[in-house]
């Protein structure tokens, strides 16, 4: 499906926000789902690139009565594909499959009273969409964002605007706690009085998610994690994007990208 680009702007350094005009059906998308994007009609790059839905918005369509749906993507220039995407201008189009995959289980998350959203680096991308959905629920949401340094921390203000409590950890200490976002999580868990049920939703690099899973196990706090892997088809057909789970290899694109942390075998 070809979607028109409405906006594609640098937020900082190598990070951009892309806005696409999408059909109404996209409003059914679930946080954690992704789009599988063909950036150029070219063999270089050949394959699509998976990018999470960062936000969904409905806007009035000028004078006409209808509404249009806007999908937002927060992305980092990581290589050839995303560099080409960054060059795209409004009115041009990208070829999109999706929304794809199994997103966060909102029901499970909102069964808790306090929800911790943990973002490592670009992990903020899907978590903002999730925070928005959860913020309707009048739960306490703590957003913990980790990154190498303060230039890698994004969307703080936007999360606060949703009513979330935001904490930051940077490896070099240039903003917030000096250290990992999982250390921050431990600190926040300790600081909090036991207030009944808690839940964790996390997205970031695999080692971080493994650490989250360990904390989840030790503290008996259910955690959902969103995983990444190179993707071929994006629709569950090629078995190219798997993660080892207690049920064998599962497809990140179709059975995930969100999994229960306890289901994943982290040692591989």
């Amino acid at each position: 499906m070809k979607l028109e680009i409405i906006r594609n702007v640098f937020l900082k350094d190598r990070y951009l926000l892309l806005e696409l005009s999408a059909p109404r059906s996209f409003s059914r998308a679930v946080p954690g789902q992704f789009l599988h994007i063909r950036i150029e009609d070219s063999s270089d790059p050949l394959l699509r690139r998976p990018l999470s839905i960062h936000d969904l918005e409905s806007r009035k369509r000028g004078k006409s009565s209808g509404e249009k749906t806007i999908v937002k993507i927060l992305y980092e220039i990581a290589g050839k594909g995303t560099a080409l995407l960054a060059e795209k201008r409004p009115l041009s189009q990208v070829d999109v499959l999706g929304p794809l995959g199994r997103g966060f289980d909102i029901k499970k998350a909102r069964a808790a009273n306090v929800i911790y959203l943990l973002a490592g680096g670009m992990g903020v991308a899907p978590l903002y969409f999730l925070a928005k959905r959860l913020s309707r629920e009048k739960k306490k949401i703590e957003v913990l964002i980790g990154g190498r340094n303060k230039d890698h921390i994004m969307r703080e203000r936007e999360f606060r605007d949703l009513g979330c409590e935001v904490h930051v950890a940077t490896e070099d200490g240039s903003l917030g706690l000096k250290g990992r976002v999982t250390a921050l999580l431990l600190e926040r868990l300790k600081a909090a009085r036991p207030q009944g049920r808690r839940a964790i939703c996390a997205c970031g690099p695999k080692p971080m998610l493994a650490a989250v899973a360990e904390i989840s196990r030790q503290k008996s706090i259910p955690a959902q994690v969103s995983l990444e892997e190179f993707m071929g088809c994006g629709v569950g057909a090629c078995l190219g994007c798997v993660i080892r789970t207690t049920f064998g290899y599962k497809r990140i694109c179709h059975d995930g990208p969100v999994f229960d942390a306890e289901e994943v075998i982290w040692t591989e």
Binding site: R38, S43, D44, P45, L46, L47, R48, D95, L97, E229, F230, M231, G232, C233, G234, V235, G236, A237, C238, L239, G240, C241, V242, I243, R244, G248, Y249, E268
Partner: protein, 305 residues
């Protein structure tokens, strides 16, 4: 007038020559949001083995220039699961279902084919003797004419359904394995499977793929696959399913002209889930533009002067 698109692979009648390649189209339903499998000439399943196979450790996929490496490693849930769960869902695919069969011994191949032979929704078998990820007596079966001959012979006796053998391109002379298949009674050869390749992450000085090496597919290999189809079509008389890097109708027509009776499309689905449909339509419009009444006129029409 519309040109005729139907072709025959032995006794297997296809309504058009466009086939979804094994391992790239799941079990036929995965792309249903994007195209009706009933539009295809046939669908070939992911390779099935006797027992459940985990497959290789990830990463399993890596993009290369004009292609991709994969090292899936024949992950599948095994024969029982296929019959119990997958096959019933294939019932109303609306097209021919070809089951790709893999194994580690001749008996395993023969056993699977024998078991599946009674299933009416299966139109044909494709023997995957070429997956570069599994070794058989230290060799890929397809790299050895003798092993190939014996395997095909053993399986042939178990079924009257069309038997297609899928060849590995990682050989000095693919016409020899093709001939071994013909001699052993196969109805068709399918070529090519992937080329064994590798990629290295130079920052970590480690292989990109968890399995170190993987199979190269996609447009990068098209010139090599096309050459092999042409060579084989000059040497044997069996119908050929040709493929490797087909992304467009143009590519598919090259294979038909080189001598393929049908074409298989793999990696293209990942780029464009509607690739098979567009290829089918592109072939049809080429035929009418060039005043061919029947796609069969195109097959093997290469003029080398």
């Amino acid at each position: 007038m519309k040109s005729k698109l139907a072709v025959n692979i032995g006794s297997l009648k296809l309504k058009n020559p466009v086939i979804a390649a094994s391992g790239t189209f799941g079990y036929g339903r995965e792309y249903s949001d994007y195209l009706d499998p009933g539009e295809l000439g046939a669908v070939i399943t992911k390779t099935i083995t006797r027992h459940r196979r985990d497959g290789n450790r990830p990463p399993r996929i890596c993009e290369t220039t004009g292609g991709m490496l994969n090292s899936i490693g024949l992950q599948n849930e095994g024969l029982e699961d296929f019959i119990g769960k997958k096959l019933p869902e294939c019932r109303r695919l609306g097209t021919r279902l070809i089951v790709s069969v893999g194994g580690e011994t001749n008996a395993e191949y023969a056993g699977i084919v024998e078991t599946l032979d009674r299933e009416p929704e299966i139109s044909a078998f494709e023997l995957n003797i070429s997956c570069p990820n599994i070794e058989y007596k230290d060799k890929i079966i397809s790299q050895d004419e003798e092993l190939t001959y014996r395997l095909v012979k053993d399986v042939r006796s178990k079924t009257a359904k069309p038997l297609i053998v899928k060849l590995s391109p990682n050989v000095s002379d693919i016409t020899k394995t093709a001939r071994a298949c013909q001699d052993a009674g196969a109805d068709s050869v399918s070529l090519v499977n992937t080329f064994l390749g590798m990629a290295i992450d130079i920052e970590r000085r480690k292989p990109v793929l968890g399995n170190i090496t993987g199979g190269l597919s996609g447009p990068a290999i098209k010139p090599l696959a096309l050459r092999m189809v042409w060579q084989v079509s000059n040497k044997i008389s069996l119908p050929i399913i040709g493929g490797g890097g087909i992304m467009s109708a143009r590519d598919a027509i090259e294979f038909l002209v080189a001598g393929a009776t049908a074409v298989s499309v793999g990696t293209a689905h990942f780029v464009n889930p509607r690739a098979c449909l567009e290829i089918k339509e592109g072939i049809a419009s080429y035929l009418s533009r060039h005043h061919f009444k029947d796609v069969k006129e195109l097959i093997g029409s290469l003029n080398v002067r």
